[in-house]
């Protein structure tokens, strides 16, 4: 089929538009990246877009890495991400396995009980009071336990587990495998794409989470990175980081510290993302379109 003139014009317009859109999606981060390497003095004089760093210095990064509260927060975030995601995957996959089996009498009532929480919830205050009642306030557990399972992710996992052929499960059972064994050695390895998606979804949500830390934590030693980042970027407080600099330099250096902190806090996700990307489209499809 030959394209008509109108379709050709549209094709060119479409490609141009999508190119512009990609640029718009990418440029803010590129700007931040360039600005973080720039010389603070030159940066404040720059107006408009950056097409490359103005000058080149690692000063801002040195400041960020030497800052003790960012270091602590980074380690805290790593803990929340690793421990939290491990708990998420462990509990969700066990539950998803159970809910994906045939011939389990209470499966549908349990499924209903879980799904219902997606549409109706007790809300912020009763949840906060519960966490308080359980004595979890101001502990690391307050960040990990209340989000131990996401109903949405659990349903995605269950749908993926249902796709594992029954024959494999039955032959494993004939070999004397228990449900634990089947879950771990048959279903789990065959569902790696969905596990990868879950790692990404759960992991990113822990990495980016700040609100529960803000309401549940008081002790700064437990703060995750995002909460410190909020102080620096939004409450606008870089003063604690620059105590050792002469007052004249403070203003401009503060700006580049902001940019460097953004990069340090975002880079791990941006690095992991391309590797997991081929899986998550699949994951979203399982969760959304099937059925």
């Amino acid at each position: 089929m030959r394209a008509t003139t109108g379709e050709k014009v549209f094709g060119v317009f479409n490609i141009t538009f999508l190119f512009g859109l990609s640029l718009a999606a990418l440029y803010p981060l590129i700007f931040v990246l360039f600005a973080s390497f720039s010389d603070p003095g030159q940066l404040v004089q720059t107006r408009g877009l950056l097409l490359f760093p103005k000058g080149f210095t690692f000063d801002a990064y040195r400041m960020v890495f030497m800052n003790p509260s960012i270091g602590t927060a980074y380690l805290n975030t790593l803990f929340y991400v690793i421990a939290g995601t491990a708990l998420n995957i462990f509990l969700s996959s066990m539950a998803a396995y159970g809910l994906s089996r045939r011939d389990v009498l209470w499966k549908n009532p349990i499924m209903f009980m879980i799904t219902f929480t997606m549409f109706f919830e007790g809300g912020l205050i009763p949840t906060f009071l519960l966490i308080n009642e359980l004595g979890l306030l101001d502990t690391r557990m307050a960040i990990i336990i209340p989000t131990a399972i996401s109903a949405f992710n659990l349903i995605i996992m269950r749908t993926a587990f249902q796709a594992v052929p029954v024959e494999l499960e039955e032959s494993a059972r004939l070999d004397g495998a228990s449900d634990f064994r089947i879950c771990w050695s048959v279903v789990f390895p065959l569902s790696m794409p969905v596990i990868a998606v879950m790692l990404l979804f759960y992991g990113v949500s822990h990495w980016n989470s700040w609100f529960s830390a803000m309401i549940y934590l008081q002790d700064r030693a437990l703060f995750p990175l995002q909460l410190i980042l909020r102080e620096i970027l939004i409450v606008n407080d870089t003063s604690s980081m620059m105590t050792d600099i002469s007052s004249g330099d403070q203003m401009p250096i503060g700006e580049t510290i902001k940019y460097a902190t953004i990069i340090v806090a975002t880079l791990p996700i941006l690095c992991a993302y391309p590797f997991l990307q081929k899986y998550f489209v699949k994951g979203v499809m399982i969760g959304a379109v099937k059925g």
């Binding site: 931040v32 089996r101 011939d103 929480t117 249902q162 970027l233 099937k290």
Partner: protein, 324 residues
């Protein structure tokens, strides 16, 4: 999402053959056979009971004068006092309007944006270009809200990137975007589109991929142009997906992302930015007015749930598509 309606048909198998044995026997037999499965399900069941149904039980403090040392059960009942206070307060009208407007605007602008992007991507024939655009536009979805809002504060400041460019290109005087109530909605919706348009297109692209190619072929033989094919094949093909997501969005009408607003707003922009979620946070967490805030939250939860049920019922009546 539609997985929900696909509650597994196979469970009928249990009752089917053994309908002569009593329910009690069936329970025992099922438990003996599936002991391990129930063991595996028990942490999840305990989790949802404690952390999701527990707060639902705690919602009753909306009808009480809650004090921490008296506990949920020990606090005295006050009937609908908290609700009356809320409905008659100055804030009620304002936060309701703000909440609904933000939701409506995102329904009008952000929701179709994902569909349009999916349709445009679908027209791209060069697969490497399509994949690259997808990879890049999905990415902002994974950036934290703190960083996104932080970048907004930086770029939109009086001496920030945006003002500098507006000034040098168009001669516009600097605007303190983040401190202008009039700008709040535009910035909230606009940044939401920037962050999520790619991500929300995935679902529609996936739906487009499931359309039978022979339908396109038939349309081509009938002489349908690309535009006509989009209009009469692609759009009807993804209509069920659009409707499901629309239902869900309507159910979320009052649940605008208050986490993002908490990061973005300040007392100067409260008049357009304050929503039910942020008000609940200030009243409950900051002012420790627990019962009142719980009443506000409960109002939110009930209206949302009702809207979801209505949207689902309407969609059920008018099309085959439904959430349950």
């Amino acid at each position: 999402m539609a997985v929900i309606e696909k509650s597994n048909g196979s469970s009928a198998g249990i009752g089917g053959s053994g309908s002569r044995i009593s329910f009690g026997q069936r329970v025992r037999k099922d438990f003996a056979k599936n002991k391990l499965i129930y063991l595996m399900l028990s942490p999840a069941v305990a989790y949802f009971l404690l952390f999701h149904y527990g707060p639902m039980y705690g919602m009753q403090i909306a009808f009480k004068d809650f004090a921490i040392k008296l506990g949920i059960n020990g606090s005295p009942w006050t009937g609908f006092d908290n609700f009356v206070d809320f409905f008659s307060s100055f804030y009620f009208g304002r936060i309701l309007v703000n909440t609904i407007l933000l939701s409506l605007y995102s329904l009008i602008f952000a929701f179709p944006a994902g569909i349009v992007l999916a349709l445009l991507l679908n027209e791209v024939r060069k697969s490497w270009f399509k994949r690259t655009v997808q990879t890049i536009t999905y990415m902002p979805h994974f950036i934290s809200l703190v960083v996104v809002v932080g970048i907004m504060f930086d770029f939109l400041a009086r001496d920030g990137l945006v003002n500098n460019m507006l000034n040098s290109l168009l001669g516009i005087e600097p605007i303190a975007f983040m401190r202008e109530a009039d700008w709040f909605r535009t910035l909230y919706i606009g940044s939401g589109i920037w962050q999520n348009v790619g991500w929300s297109s995935i679902i529609f692209l996936a739906a487009i991929a499931t359309i039978d190619p022979s339908i396109y072929e038939a349309a081509r033989i009938d002489g349908a142009s690309r535009w006509k094919q989009t209009l009469h094949v692609t759009l009807p093909g993804i209509a069920p997906t659009i409707i499901i997501l629309l239902i869900l969005n309507i159910g979320q009408l009052l649940a605008v992302g208050s986490e993002k607003i908490l990061l973005m707003y300040n007392p100067i922009t409260y008049s357009t930015a304050d929503v039910i979620g942020t008000y609940t946070y200030r009243k409950g967490i900051l002012e420790t007015n627990y019962s009142y805030a719980a009443a506000v939250g409960m109002f939110n939860a009930i209206i949302s749930f009702t809207l979801l049920i209505i949207a689902n019922a309407v969609s059920r009546k008018t099309s085959e598509t439904k959430l349950w």
